[in-house]
Symmetry: C2
Subunit: 523 residues, 2 copies
């Protein structure tokens, strides 16, 4: 369904062209835009908050096909109210992506702003207020926040208030902040410096099963110089961060086999092989207590951190020691190496082990089988296929015969040690070049918006399928988040701290107002 | 409650004295006793079976104080019917032990025959017929055995029939077989060669919590030259075995600690320590894949097998390879070393590991804690206290701070690695001297009863608190079992193969008839 028309789009472009004004210098520009956004917020904070709560009131699970389309149409209308063209990009069997476009005459660069409008499923019983009834509190629930009425007087919104609702942080508020930033610029007659496209996904929390198909189908429409992702939180220190990548991921389930029936550990202990012992030796052989992966060849594919990445880590503030105290950890792996440094490396994590019984369930028996689950986090140049190959070679070297389904009795009898491996696909890491002109321009623009240095994060530790954007669109992407880190993302009582909404408007306004110019100015 | 009187006891002794007849040689003696028992079985098999089923019909959990006393009184009456004195030995809070005594004038040795009359709890839903409704089948359930009526015609009992009931094997049938053996001897005017005492325990399956107190309290009454235990099964080959010991046991629960709340394995993987990884390294450091225990000093306390023990193992038939096939094991630990050889060594068995989630329950998280459960099997000279000391020293050497209850937040913050250890008491091994005159005499008498060589087992792999007999009574003990190995002991559908009942009568009759003489003949 196409909601706009060429005619409308032209009108919008002309309207914005009328707002162009020259600026004396970057610093003056920055101050002027910040002042404009502040002024707009003073007069319209109540209005911005109302636009957010209207959107949050719509149930938004990707699987709820009726409501997810209500969200999509609503967001398309929000785009149109800003003079953008808007349409729903359909992919069979998927919630639509909401696409929008707003040209800036004279601009030479085009960015796509990405967010997703679907949310994680909810367990209503765990919520202090219903997930799709946006509820304002005077501070966080953890700090004893109490419900307060929605404000009606402009200029009264407080930064420490929080709005509680599913997707308040993940990921609806960046949509609202970005569009409100456009309103603030227009109110001050400040003209966008880049052409804008919008791509709001509707199935991110369901694992983006149709993302590749959608991007491929609309590749031409989505052509741009850069994608800006609004997803994810700012730094724990509440300072703005800009992130250039994510780790890849792959997972494997392991099952080892002992005797066909559980055996008395007295009568058969130290005669019959114990599948739990086999697992412990295998896992211990694969990684040490400092997180080093001991699999031959594993690090051959790992590109070392670049100078720029190392500089970024050195310049970033560390919340590590506060985090250790909060987590009751005396120390962390590799002699308290910095978290930000560690997540630039691949990881082998043991998600679980199960076999036999412990505590009251322990019986004097040798169990018939044991299971473990491992997830690998990958860094650039590693692929799930290669990790699988290297891990399986390691497992074989430990004396195991590998099967990928339940072994037959004949197979069990034929091999001293047998293991079943169940791989779950996974995908590679993605990292954009931190020293490209685009990257430096984004950092500059963001800093103009916040009036302070941003924290540069070479990669987040988690995984998102950004590689699909790399592979299909071959366009760099940079994440400029805005929500608070303590937002209970994916869990009950998800919330947004309103100062983050106000700050997010500043950052996105700065991107729109300055990015085009600082980009072309960047050597 | 004393059921007998000195007068009765004297009458019984005189009655048996009248049966004494001399024998030409051991071989002739053996043949004559075997023939006498066979003749008695031909005429009285139905009667023996009826005495067994009457006893099996009485519910016999140690915790069922009313029924357990019914069993005790019934067994005391069975003893009295054989002219033995009988009394119930009371210990406060415990089911009584049934004690009996039958003097053999002229005998210089006294043996105590031990069995227990209590049984394991039952899960009735798992039984093919009710556990305390003795049910005869024409063969084993596993082989498709069908219920048949109890025989009424003497001489018709078939060896492959099985009687299904709780304690059919463990441990009521040895009581019935021993007393029936006395009947068979008396019917043939064959006089016992040893003084007999009986000690039938009523809480063995409940862990014998009052055994030490009972043995201490009745130490003088229980004085003897040798205890014969009727508990446990014969060899898997169905050949008679004589066992000289048991392994000791102790157990420990292990809990390791990670971050105070589960962490996203992407954001924090290879930064936050993973408690499952700590456990795998600890366990792998403590024992290898061949069952060798790698704890410093662990083997210092282990006495090597004696010449006689090694000879016994060499002479014993091995069911190992059939067992491997049945268990779908390509091979067993230490290059297929013999089961009987392996259980002469201490063992470290992992009973269970649990932490995080596996398969469908796996989530991308670093779990907050992980648990394991280990049981140690001990051999002579090892003590649970020393094992605990050595294991804890090993754990400390792996960098753990040890606590024995939930660690406080302060403790978690103060130590790089922290582990909670929960020990369950345990007890030492017990092994009787296989080359003593008593041991050789028992073997000789048993072989006279079966007409073939017995399998000599230096120690069983399992654990029983026989050390209490050692410590309190300082009397050697030898286990002469009779029931089939495939008896579903402790489980549903416990059963006794009737040939084992008939053979058991032969063995016990031979012990009674020959032991005294072969013992004094033994150099």
């Amino acid at each position: 369904m196409r909601l706009d028309s060429m005619a409308k789009s032209t009108v919008a472009a002309l309207a914005i062209a009328a707002l162009i004004i020259p600026a004396a210098s970057h610093a003056q520009d920055a101050a002027r835009v910040r002042a404009a956004v502040r002024a707009y917020q003073q007069a319209n904070d109540v209005h911005v908050l109302r636009e957010l709560t209207e959107l949050l009131a719509m149930p938004n699970r990707a699987s709820d096909s009726v409501n997810i389309r209500r969200n999509a149409r609503h967001i398309a209308q929000m785009l149109e109210r800003r003079g953008a063209t808007a349409r729903l990009l359909e992919t069979p069997g998927a919630p639509p992506a909401v696409y929008g476009e707003l040209r800036a005459p004279g601009a030479t660069k085009t960015i796509v702003f990405y967010a997703h409008y679907d949310g994680q499923p909810v367990d209503t019983s765990q919520w202090a207020s219903p997930p799709w009834t946006p509820t304002l509190r005077d501070k966080s629930l953890a700090d004893g926040g109490r419900v307060i009425p929605m404000p009606t007087q402009p200029g009264t919104v407080q930064g420490e208030w929080r709005i509680y609702a599913r997707s308040a942080s993940d990921d609806k508020s960046p949509i609202v902040a970005f569009l409100a930033a456009l309103d603030a610029l227009r109110a001050a007659n400040i003209r966008p410096s880049v052409n804008l496209k919008f791509y709001f996904e509707g199935e991110e929390e369901a694992g983006s099963p149709h993302l590749r198909e959608a991007l491929t189908r609309y590749r031409d429409l989505l052509s741009a110089d850069l994608w800006i992702f609004g997803d994810g939180p700012v730094h724990q220190s509440r300072r703005q961060q800009v992130s250039f990548g994510v780790r890849g991921v792959t997972g494997v389930g392991l099952t080892t086999y002992g005797p066909a029936r559980a055996l008395h550990s007295g009568h058969y202990g130290n005669w019959a092989p114990n599948p739990l012992v086999e697992l412990t030796h295998l896992i211990a052989s694969a990684r040490d207590l400092d997180g080093r992966i001991l699999i031959d060849g594993f690090h051959d594919d790992v590109r070392p951190p670049t100078r720029a990445e190392l500089d970024a880590v050195a310049a970033a503030p560390s919340a590590d020691s506060a985090l250790r105290a909060e987590l009751l950890l005396h120390s962390t792996e590799a002699d308290n190496a910095l978290l930000m440094e560690r997540i630039m490396l691949p990881a082998l994590n043991v998600r679980g082990i199960a076999g036999g019984g412990v505590a009251q369930q322990a019986s004097n028996a040798i169990p018939t089988q044991a299971q473990a689950s491992i997830d690998f986090r990958l860094v650039p140049r590693q692929t799930p296929a290669r990790v699988r190959e290297l891990f399986e070679a390691h497992v074989r070297k430990q004396g195991f015969h590998i099967v990928h389904r339940e072994p037959t009795p004949e197979e069990r009898l034929a091999h001293e040690r047998i293991i079943r491996l169940d791989w779950s696909g996974g995908y590679p890491a993605s990292r954009s070049d931190m020293s490209s002109p685009a990257a430096r321009a984004v950092l500059r623009a963001v800093e103009m918006g916040k009036g302070e240095r941003a924290i540069v994060v070479p990669t987040g530790g988690g995984s998102l399928p950004l590689y699909i954007f790399d592979e299909v669109l071959r366009t760099p992407h940079i994440t400029v988040p805005m929500v608070n880190h303590d937002n209970s993302q994916h869990a009950a009582n998800e919330n947004l701290r309103l100062q983050n909404l106000l700050d997010g408007m500043q950052v996105y306004a700065a991107l729109v107002a300055h990015l085009g110019r600082v980009w072309t100015d960047t050597p």
